[in-house]
Symmetry: D2
Subunit: 242 residues, 4 copies
């Protein structure tokens, strides 16, 4: 339990360069805002990677030496190469944790792992979002109260077209009249996946204490274990008499 968890925070990193409103909130990029509180945690080793780096920053063994990958993308999902999306998918099946944030719901790695459209309702009205904890015993809810809220967020609403999560940790209430399963857990292969809804690029969501706590908890929950390898046939039991 005391081993280091190697985290890579991946960010599309375009809005921050194209849009002054986003740059004002996240001058060093959303990846740095997500990475910064994780860097203060004992036992976490944190790197970042972005779309416009060679191999999207995931080559040279980075992906292979990542225990938990955090993913933020939005306007350039289609620019992520199919080959790299497939490598992320394979790494998850072999045990790498994946934490998908906000508009990452339409990213290639996530939609490939879900098998569904991952579409949802949405509205940009800067409305209040209140997240209710519906699984208070789940490790991702550690340290939280029964609810927390953000004064201004983009709205995401149901129907969220994903496979029914293995656990729904949070459900969001939006002032404008919508609800959303905002914290969703799945296992795929040996890997654990957590989707967390908040995080619009024009709001300081990732600077909020509860949001940082959830991402930290999600890293711990998705970190790989040491169960049997996914390779088949390497050590079979004796064939019983048939």
């Amino acid at each position: 339990m005391s081993r280091t968890i190697r985290i890579t925070v991946w960010n599309e990193y375009r809005h921050e360069k194209n849009d002054a409103a986003v740059a004002a909130v996240y001058p060093a990029g959303i990846h740095e805002a997500v990475a910064e509180p994780l860097r203060r945690e004992p036992g976490f080793a944190v790197r970042t990677a972005t779309l416009d780096e060679p191999e999207h920053g995931l080559g040279g063994g980075v992906l292979e030496s990542t225990d938990v990958l955090i993913w933020w993308g939005h306007q350039a999902h289609e620019e992520v190469s199919d080959a790299i999306a497939a490598r992320v998918q394979q790494r998850v099946l072999q045990g790498m944790g994946l934490v998908v944030l906000h508009s990452g719901h339409l990213s290639k790695p996530f939609t490939r792992l879900m098998g569904t459209s991952c579409l949802l309702r949405w509205r940009e009205a800067g409305e209040k979002e209140r997240l209710w904890v519906v699984e208070p015993g789940h490790p991702i809810a550690d340290g939280l109260g029964a609810w927390f809220e953000m004064p201004h967020e983009e709205m995401y609403g149901e129907r969220f077209d994903v496979p029914a999560p293995e656990a729904v940790v949070f459900i969001s209430w939006f002032a404008g009249g919508n609800v959303f399963r905002s914290g969703c857990c799945w296992t795929r292969g040996k890997g654990r996946i957590f989707y967390f809804r908040p995080g619009h690029e024009t709001y300081p969501t990732y600077k909020q204490r509860e949001v940082q706590a959830v991402i930290r908890n999600a890293v711990l929950w998705t970190a790989p274990g040491s169960g049997p390898e996914m390779k088949l046939g390497d050590r079979e039991p004796p064939l019983e008499k048939i």
Copy 2:
């Protein structure tokens, strides 16, 4: 598929006799308001039963000849005999469907089957409730649109202390700031259970078209199948050589 489904609508039937405001909305009792639209469905045979009848109206073979039991109770949960609650539980395990409405979340049959406290937040403020369909492919959502609402309802809010449902068909939004898993499915033994939130005794909720459609769909979904009996040992396969 063409056989008759034998439905028993059970109601505590106290509010309607004690409280003029309730009697004004449901003069013949909530059980009659629930039963009436079901009686118009082909293939449904509908009876009612109430707390103050002998054996709560469930003796004399009524329970044994019920395919789907619908349950509404509120102020007198403790007056339901433990023996009859245990018989309801056993019938569900053997395959009888159970549809639990609104304040029935604290009824003895439901809490025995769930194994949890079944507690929740609540508030009587006559606020708007909007139900969103989160599983559009589920049979209980047949014939519905993406959402429907009630202008005035009692609020039930998360954390709802039940085992994670096998399917969450509806999530409610309440104007006052809460969310709730309002349509929840479980299997226990051979039986299927559906909990449906709406239905406060002072609002004409059970007269609303969508609510009636959900209850009808829930009867079809919880109706027993013809899978193997739950009795063990009646026909074992040959013991393989060991």
Copy 3:
């Protein structure tokens, strides 16, 4: 409930033409063996389609007018066009039922919908398989006893790399020492998916009464409902004051 269910049985249809041992068991093709008992059911309209037909037999509106697609493939999964696999996936998300048989576990439509490798252990030793019903209340177990068996089958063994099923209806015991989740249910989008393990091409598995009953039950269980459309935004509720 009385509407016709339009079924298309899809078969790769290569083994039967290449391999005399297979042709001896299934002279008209596996698709005809699967289709024949379904054609005798009231309310089922059954077509077949095969790999070597134009558009694999799924063009010209066939896929769009299919309620439940049954899929058998094995040696030629890669010859199924990506475009048609994607169309099958989309149709499932919109509500079409999908029943995947035996070696179809590695077919393109199934692996795209699962998001995992779908790999498993296997062995061809003609050993005994016994299926135990683990969800006796599930509609797919209707009419079955507590167990049934096949004297000779190919072995499929765990770990089966699929997302944890929403229901596991059957678990298989194999004489040689393996177990397998042989009847698995998932919902993806509005569609229901059932995977059923038995069915090796050199054994008369599809002529067995229980196997035919399971496939018939699976058609009924996966047949589409009439819940809300998956299109978003076509009729939104009024925005609440924010």
Copy 4:
């Protein structure tokens, strides 16, 4: 993560005193055989408690200061007081972990939490049991290979009448022709529950390395977190305008 986990191993402790064959295998009692390897783990504080102690060894604050309770019982389930069974259930709902071993499937705490009969098939024939890991990424499979086996065990077979587990970590194959979901996870309230099948009193099952590893992993997985309290109403958000 570095806090101590306080474990109480509860044992009926009758077979060992009544039956020389059991005493020969477990001379200090099954509770000591289960406790001994846990005592060697850093961060575990281990106590034992048995049926014939006052309050079954769970009074005087023992239950309230237990993080994870391990339960073995068989012939004297009915002698466990209803009041203490109810206290165990309440503690689980508030977050205490519960690990139920073998014949504990019919214990009062477990059946109350499940809400079902918890019955199963069984046979004492000393046959081989092989457990297959079906969720290799689950923390309870940490450190295991793809399978492990016991040369002689009592057989437990499906249908096991429990609510569908949230995760099935192991499925057992028995030489005599049966299968069983041998490692089952549930959440109830804030608490996590793990049922582990092996452990007949006349076999040295609890001395086997893999069995000890599973129980250790189960303690870690069921240990309570620090999510929101289950008490309602202690700190409500402001009521939104309605």
